[in-house]
Amino acid sequence: MWNQAWQYVISHPDKIFEWTLQHLYIILVANALAAVFGVLIGIYISGKGRQRIADTVIYLASIMMTVPSLALYGILMGILSALTLPSIGFLPVVIALTLYGLLPIIRNTYTAIREVDPAMIEAGRGMGMSEIQILVKVKLPLAVPVIMAGLRQAVVMNIGIAAIGAYIGAGGLGQPIFRGIANYRTDLILVGAIFVSLLAILADLLMGGLEWLTTPKGVRTRRRR
């Protein structure tokens, strides 16, 4: 069985490459969308006097997270077909992944901004920084590593969810797994499972490195201590 899987890998590297690319493409699009919306929403709800909105948004997003991916795909297919949009393939999967990716990013953006030392903000304001300057020069640089941690969580989680998306025709590394299950081809199942796991683990490492790189140097040394 393992031997067969290995045979498959050496005889069809092009297919594995194609599935991986499809997978990465979905992840890239969905997480880019999630990052943009997540950070914007996170910044918005961290504003003064928006505590209640923040609580509600974060709570709704966390309920969203509990919805099983297969169920969400199903619900989205229903909604999309009612809107006469393509109800299988790329679109429902990207929408689902974007929704799943939002929570960790919103939550991390929100907490990171809220946790910036008030003394720093006061110092900034006292020296004549505008609110935008305080956001861009003080709050965001300090929040970026935390936001990156959220993005990392989102990416790793979404690699797994995208795999299930193969079932509704989005392609990617889930495809060999489903095909293998349907046709009793254990070699295909193993190839898909192993490569999608490797992808997730590599993405985790890579995003961890990115998290470290985006941490401002002065804060890094503090953490090391």
């Binding site: 003394a119 903000i121 006292g126 020069k137 401002p216 201590r225």
Partner: protein, 372 residues
């Protein structure tokens, strides 16, 4: 010059933090806002740079209403230091110090040069520290950088909110001394908030003592101690204890040598040259046998006049055994800043000044506060 004209602050919940406050801080003056917590001193300070909007009254800086300026522009012209420092951990020491220059869009090299200059001013080696991050500095060093940062764009005015409040007493003392030394050089107009009477006496040219939003007394430290306006001031500054403490010391214990003594027969122009060299505004004059005659000032020295003609005779003098509290009231009553100490033969032994008494007071208050 900062002028507060009938300034009042009422918060949304109805608390009156500051009531009808009038205060004028002169150019180059170190003004301490002192009082127990909740007295409105910090509110007052933050109204100057509009971090807290005022409810009534006006605040003028050099005659301009602060509300005539854009708030961020105003703040960039006022140095600001706070107890928690609030250094930006993601920026280097250089970038932190150059925050306001950066906001004012100075060219990069100029920002760095300014940061180096200010680091040197606060006694830190630019070569060692300029590219470090705040997390790599000790608490005292961070505080120094905080002070350097508030001087970033060389603002004529500084507002400081207990900038030395969060550090250990030994380092605090050192920083206070250094800051006084710096202030002697840069002569900023300063509004400095503290609840520490010791610090107030040590640092302030004048102290504005506040209570429940009202300015109770605005005076120089010696006056505040020797003639407190009411019971509250007396208790708050611990005047009784401190003045009792002064009674334990005599003039001879703390007097200093006169900076320059001149004999009657000397040539006026030579004396004038010596005074210019030592940057002295006045000198003390004695007979050849050492008897004290009086004071001469630099302005009065002329080739056409003999020294004897320009003597200002002393209105009061004290003996080496004069108690310090008496000496202080003599100085206050006769409105002189320096008191000559003479022996029974009227020979000049030394001088006492407000600064000397203030140092003594500072120590006394410090000791009084550390008592259980």
């Amino acid at each position: 010059m900062i002028k507060l004209d009938q300034v009042g602050k009422t918060y949304a919940d109805g608390t009156e933090a500051v009531k009808d406050l009038c205060l004028e801080i002169k150019e180059g003056e170190f003004c301490v806002l002192l009082g127990p917590s909740g007295c409105g001193k910090t509110t007052t300070m933050k109204m100057i740079n509009r971090l807290i909007p005022l409810t009534t009254g006006k605040i003028y800086i050099d005659g301009v209403d602060v509300y005539k300026l854009e708030s961020n522009e105003l703040r960039r012209g006022i140095g600001y230091a706070i107890q928690n420092i609030g250094l930006f951990p993601h920026l280097t020491v250089c970038q932190n110090i150059a925050t306001v220059p950066m906001l004012k869009k100075w060219p990069k090299p100029k920002q760095r040069a300014r940061a180096e200059e200010l680091l040197t001013l606060v006694g830190m080696d630019p070569g060692t520290f300029i590219d470090r991050y705040p997390s790599e500095l000790s608490g005292g060093q961070q505080q120094r950088v905080g002070v350097a940062r508030c001087l970033g764009a060389d603002p004529p005015i500084l507002v400081m909110d207990e900038p030395f409040g969060a550090i250990d007493p030994i380092t605090r003392n050192k920083l206070q001394d250094e800051f006084l030394r710096i202030q002697a050089k840069i002569r900023k107009t300063i509004a400095f908030v503290t609840h520490d009477i010791n610090e107030a006496i040590k640092m302030g040219d004048r102290i504005a003592l506040m209570r429940e939003g009202v300015l109770v007394q605005f005076a120089d430290p010696a006056t505040l101690l020797s003639s407190p306006k009411d019971e509250f001031v007396r208790n708050f500054v611990g005047a009784d204890r401190v003045l009792k403490g002064l009674r334990l010391l005599k003039a001879k214990d703390v007097m200093k040598k006169p900076p320059l003594t001149v004999k009657v027969g000397e040539d006026p122009m030579q004396v004038k040259a010596r005074m210019e060299r030592d940057k002295l505004r006045w000198a003390m004059l004695t007979e050849d046998d050492g008897r004290f005659l009086g004071w001469i000032t630099w302005e009065d020295l002329h080739a056409s006049k003999t020294i004897r003609e320009i003597i200002i005779p002393p209105s009061v003098t004290a003996s080496p055994d004069t108690l310090l509290n008496e000496a202080l009231s003599m100085m206050l009553n006769s409105a002189i800043g320096t008191l000559a100490i003479l022996n029974e033969k009227e020979c000049l032994l030394g001088v006492l000044s407000f600064e000397i008494i203030r140092d003594v007071l500072g120590q006394q208050v410090g000791e009084a506060q550390t008592e259980p």
